[in-house]
Symmetry: C2
Subunit: 191 residues, 2 copies
DNA sequence: ATCATTCTTGACATGATTGTCAATCTTGAC
DNA sequence: GTCAAGATTGACAATCATGTCAAGAATGAT
C-alpha cells in the first residue's frame, strides 16, 4: 500500500472520544479534534468523511468499554452487592476527570432532536444492552423473581442510572450520587 | 412613558419558552425566537439584552408552572397515590407535543458545561425545590418515616424523574415510561 | 401641535464552523 | 531509482449566528 496514513487510527479515535466526552457531539468541533489529535482538519475529513463518522467510531469504543465494565461489576453472586458495584462503577465513570466529563450516552441522548438516526440508534443500543445485562443478573439470582419482573426492574435501574447522570450535570457531588444510589438499591432490594 | 413597546411581553416569553422547550437553549437561535414571536431580532436585543436573558425569563415561567403542577399532583393523603399522580404529570409533561418536547430542565442541565452560572443555578433551584416538595409529601404521610429518610428518598425520586426524561429522549414511549414509573413506585413504596 | 424618549428596522461587522479542493509531499511496490 | 496511490496541507467558499448601530417611526407628556 502506498501513501500511508501518518497517524495511529486507534490513538486518534481514543483522543476523539476524550474530546467528545468532554464537549459533546454537537459542541466539539473539527478544530477541537484536530488540535487534540495533532491531525489536521483536512486529513480527518479525508480519513473519516465527517465529524459524525468520527463520533460513531469513538462512541462504539466507549460503548464497548462501558458495557464490559458494567458486566464485570455485575458479576457477583449476591445481587445486592452486584448492584452496588455497578453503581460505584457508573458514578466513578461519570464523575471522573476535572472537570468531570459526565456520561457520554446521556449527553448524546439529550441531543436526540438534532442527531442523526444512526447516532440515536447507538444510544438505544447501549441502553438496551445494559438493560439485558442487568436483567440477566437479576434473573440469575437464586429463584427470587420471574423473568418479566427482572426485566421490568432492569429498566427501572437503567432509568435510575440516567437520572444519576443528569444529577451529576446539575452539580451533585460524587458523594451525593453514591448516597442516592445506596438509598435506591436498599429500596429496590427491599433491605 | 414614550416610545411604547409594540408587543406583549408575556406573550413573547411564552412563545420563547415554546421555542426553547423544543430546541434547547443552545440550539434555539435569535432567528428562531424572532420568527416565532413575530418580533424582530433587533427589538429582542433592545428589550432583553441577549438570548440568555430571554431564556432565564422563559425558564422562570416554566419552573413556576412545573412546580405548581407538581405540588398539585402530590397533594393527596395517600403517598402512593400522590406519587402515581406526580409521575403521571411528569411523564405527560415530557411526552406532550409532536414531536415530544422532552423535559426542559433536564435538557438544560445537560448543557451545563456551556451554560452560565445563572442558568446552572436555575436548574439547581428547580431540582432542589422539587426535592423539598416531595420530601414534605413523604414526611406528611402518617408517621411512616423520619424526616432524614424522607429527604433521602425524595432525592432518589427526583433522580428517577430525571432518568425518565433521558429515556424519553432515547425513544421510550409514554407507555413504557409509565410502566417504569409504576414499577419504581411499587418497589419504593414496598408494595 | 410639538418634543423628547423609546422602540423598530435593516444593514453591518465579526467570528465560528463546515466541507471542498488543488497542489504538494510520502512512501511502498516494482 | 521511478512511479503511482494515497495522505497532507493550507486556502477557499459558503453558512450561520451573534451582537451593534444609525436612521427612522411611533407615541405619551406637555
Amino acid at each position: 500500500m502506498v501513501g500511508v496514513r501518518q497517524f495511529d487510527e486507534d490513538e486518534v479515535i481514543a483522543t476523539a472520544l476524550d474530546v467528545f466526552w468532554r464537549k459533546g457531539l454537537h459542541d466539539a468541533t473539527m478544530q477541537d479534534l484536530a488540535a487534540a489529535t495533532g491531525v489536521q482538519r483536512g486529513s480527518l475529513y479525508n480519513a473519516y468523511g465527517d465529524k459524525e463518522a468520527i463520533f460513531l467510531r469513538a462512541f462504539d469504543q466507549y460503548a464497548g468499554q462501558f458495557l464490559e465494565a458494567a458486566g464485570h461489576a455485575l458479576a457477583h453472586a449476591d445481587t445486592t452487592i452486584a448492584l452496588r458495584n455497578f453503581f460505584d462503577m457508573i458514578i466513578v465513570n461519570m464523575t471522573d476527570g476535572s472537570p468531570a466529563r459526565g456520561c457520554l450516552t446521556t449527553r448524546t441522548a439529550l441531543d436526540a432532536a438534532i442527531s442523526s438516526t444512526e447516532v440515536r440508534q447507538r444510544v438505544r443500543d447501549v441502553l438496551g444492552r445494559l438493560e439485558q445485562l442487568i436483567g440477566r443478573t437479576l434473573s440469575a439470582a437464586p429463584g427470587r423473581r420471574r423473568a418479566a419482573d427482572a426485566d421490568r426492574l432492569a429498566r427501572v435501574i437503567v432509568t435510575f442510572t440516567r437520572g444519576l447522570a443528569v444529577m451529576e450535570r446539575a452539580g451533585y457531588s460524587r458523594k451525593q450520587l453514591k448516597g442516592s444510589a445506596a438509598t435506591f438499591v436498599d429500596a429496590v432490594m427491599g433491605t
